[in-house]
């Protein structure tokens, strides 16, 4: 083990401030970015976890959120022309008002209901599944019981994190756009902090009058006989479509959805601000901590100088030390963020941490640590062996 690493491990308390500064800088950026990606994920979870291997959208679409994504209905039979395709279903969904009617007369005015402490009317996003066995629109983690329950008309499922907000529990009735629906399922793992999502069958959506019945439908969800061929088939479909549509693999679309949030200028400003702040705080504290730690060992460094170890070698030790401090900081940042992620999930807030984000932020933290190391090199000038001769 090298001198730098041994010193870091043995005197870890001395380096704790630097590690924590790096960890908190990392946490700041990871958590903010993760929350924004998570907001996007809240809207697209049902699609991203479906068994669709390919999604067909308009050629200009950049992601599922925003942008023109719907296609003409006649594309459905066109997609079936590829022999690898086994099922095509258009994605459908709507939005509406949701009113808990538990214990409260739904015909009373909003003001009167509010006085009685009744849950407020909420606007919800509605997603659909097809209840035919193995349908492409069913998320892979839905149980058969849930699908069976949703097959009944006028039934909905909501996520466990939305029950309090919507004021309903399993078995309760509620008004959706003024029509009575029954909550027959509670899902887990589909939180959406911006707007509660309810799930219903395509048939129920039609019965409440919101299904797409015209010539245009939502993005097409395509199931293949061999999911591992998704990339190849997507390319074939694109060729077949001849520019009329664009076929995405599920992974491509998920990545695009995560990135779509960052086309919002305000998010870039917020995250950019966090990066700048995190960098300044990280460098300042890590620099001062490293200086202090080097000063604490300055006599030992001076004795090495006396024995003929050059200044360059000592600088190398300091740079190696800052590298290791950076590595420990990255681990601490990721652990703290995972902890925060778990806590946030309890409050229905998703903090999404794609690997690429971890790599970028981790690399950034190591750069911050090395930069602090560079700034601390000046302190080594104090390692004057002549000072030891007193």
């Amino acid at each position: 083990m090298s001198l730098a690493l041994s010193t870091l491990l043995y005197e870890w308390r001395r380096y704790m401030a630097a590690v924590m500064a790096l960890a908190l800088s990392g946490l700041l950026v990871l958590a903010m970015t993760g929350v924004f990606i998570g907001i996007g994920k809240g809207f697209t979870a049902t699609i991203e976890r479906s068994s669709a291997d390919i999604i067909i959208m308009q050629p200009g679409a950049k992601s599922l959120i925003g942008g023109p994504s719907g296609v003409p209905r006649r594309f459905i039979p066109l997609a079936y022309r590829n022999p690898a395709v086994v099922e095509v279903q258009p994605l459908d969904g709507a939005g509406g008002s949701f009113q808990s009617v538990k214990n409260v007369d739904p015909t009373m005015s909003q003001a009167d209901r509010a006085k009685m402490g009744a849950p407020r009317q909420e606007f919800v996003q509605t997603s659909i599944i097809d209840t035919t066995p193995g349908a492409v629109t069913i998320p892979t983690d839905y149980s058969q019981e849930l699908v069976d329950a949703l097959r009944q008309p006028y039934t909905v499922a909501i996520d466990e994190t939305a029950t309090r907000k919507l004021g309903v529990k399993l078995g309760d009735r509620a008004l959706y756009n003024g029509q009575t629906v029954t909550v027959v399922g509670i899902t887990r793992g589909y939180p959406n902090m911006m707007q509660a999502t309810i799930i219903m069958s395509r048939d129920t959506l039609r019965m409440v009058g919101q299904a797409d019945t015209g010539p245009r439908v939502g993005p097409l969800m395509v199931k293949l006989n061999d999911p591992s061929q998704a990339e190849r088939v997507a390319a074939e479909l694109n060729e077949q479509g001849d520019g009329q549509w664009k076929a995405w693999t599920r992974q491509e679309l998920a990545d695009a959805n995560a990135g779509a949030m960052f086309e919002e200028g305000i998010l870039v400003i917020i995250i950019g601000g966090c990066v700048v702040l995190g960098t300044i705080i990280g460098v300042a504290i890590t620099w001062q901590t490293l200086r202090g730690a080097i000063m604490a060992n300055i006599k030992e460094f001076a004795s090495l100088r006396a024995l003929g170890v050059g200044m360059g070698s000592l600088q190398w030790i300091v740079m190696e030390l800052s590298f290791w401090v950076g590595c420990v900081g990255v681990i601490a940042a990721i652990l703290l963020t995972l902890l925060l992620q778990a806590l946030a999930l309890m409050g229905a807030v998703i903090i999404a941490l794609p690997l690429i984000l971890l790599i970028i932020v981790g690399g950034g933290l190591i750069v911050i640590a090395m930069l602090s190391g560079l700034l601390s090199l000046g302190i080594l000038k104090n390692s004057q062996p002549a000072d030891l001769l007193r």
Partner: protein, 251 residues
């Protein structure tokens, strides 16, 4: 003082020869002359003791001899180098790395490293392979009687043991010149005796020129040569027969 300094000199050959060393320090608006035209030499195989009261310039002298502190005037010929102070800073570092050992009053050991690692670190900088450095470190620590304490960190070692690790760190390189600055003053009599015997042995058995700065007159018994310095001037230079079996009473 005749003849030239050599790297692999026999006992009695010159290892260091310095002429006309002058060193001034700024003190307020005036300068204090700490070394006043000092001539000095040290020979292979000798334990040369430099003695004097504090502030006499003895530490400054070895700093100037070893390339740590540039004198205003004078030249230092050492081993195969003519005029050490004509070399660049990095060449002087390299010279020390190859040829010089240093022992200080404080032990200056890295708290994180075990005894054997303290010694290894320096050897690795000298370019030894990991395995060679480890072997050499172990041999040297056994030589200073710490064969059973190889893996202890400084916090687990006594003062005497720490100083022996510091000595092993200096001796492991097999230096032709060994500088020691008050090596016993932080130690009790018993440990001080162990340390001075090790320095004596470095001179006798390894043929190193050992230059030991001290104000402790009881160490004189082990010396081949005792130089007294006062106010930056050498006032006395005696050769004597060392007594390797002398004992050092407790401080």
């Amino acid at each position: 003082m005749t003849g030239h300094t050599r790297v692999h000199g026999k006992h009695g050959d010159f290892a260091i020869e310095a002429k006309g060393l002058v060193k001034r320090f700024k003190s307020g608006k005036s300068f204090v002359e700490v070394l006043k035209n000092v001539d000095f030499d040290a020979r292979h195989g000798d334990l040369t003791m430099v003695m004097g009261p504090s502030g006499s310039g003895k530490s400054t002298l070895i700093a100037a001899l070893s390339g740590l502190l540039r004198p205003e005037e004078g030249r230092v010929d050492t081993l195969d180098v003519d005029d050490l102070w004509k070399l660049s800073g990095s060449r002087i570092d390299k010279f020390r790395l190859d040829h010089c050992g240093f022992i200080f009053q404080g032990f200056n050991l890295f708290p994180a490293l075990s005894a054997i690692q303290q010694v290894e670190v320096v050897l690795k900088f000298q370019g030894l392979s990991k395995a060679d450095a480890r072997r050499q470190a172990q041999i040297t620590l056994e030589e200073v009687g710490l064969g059973h304490r190889l893996h202890q960190k400084p916090s687990a070692l006594s003062g005497g043991e720490k100083q022996r690790v510091a000595i092993a760190r200096a001796l492991a390189k097999n230096p032709q010149i060994l500088f020691a600055d008050e090596p016993t003053s932080a130690l009790d009599g018993e440990n001080g005796q162990v340390v001075i015997r090790l320095l004596r042995r470095a001179a006798t058995e390894h043929g190193a020129a050992v230059i030991c700065v001290t104000h402790d007159p009881r160490l004189e018994a082990w010396a081949d040569r005792v130089i007294h310095i006062e106010d930056g001037v050498i006032i006395d230079d005696q050769r004597r027969i060392p007594n390797p079996d002398a004992t050092l009473a407790s401080h």
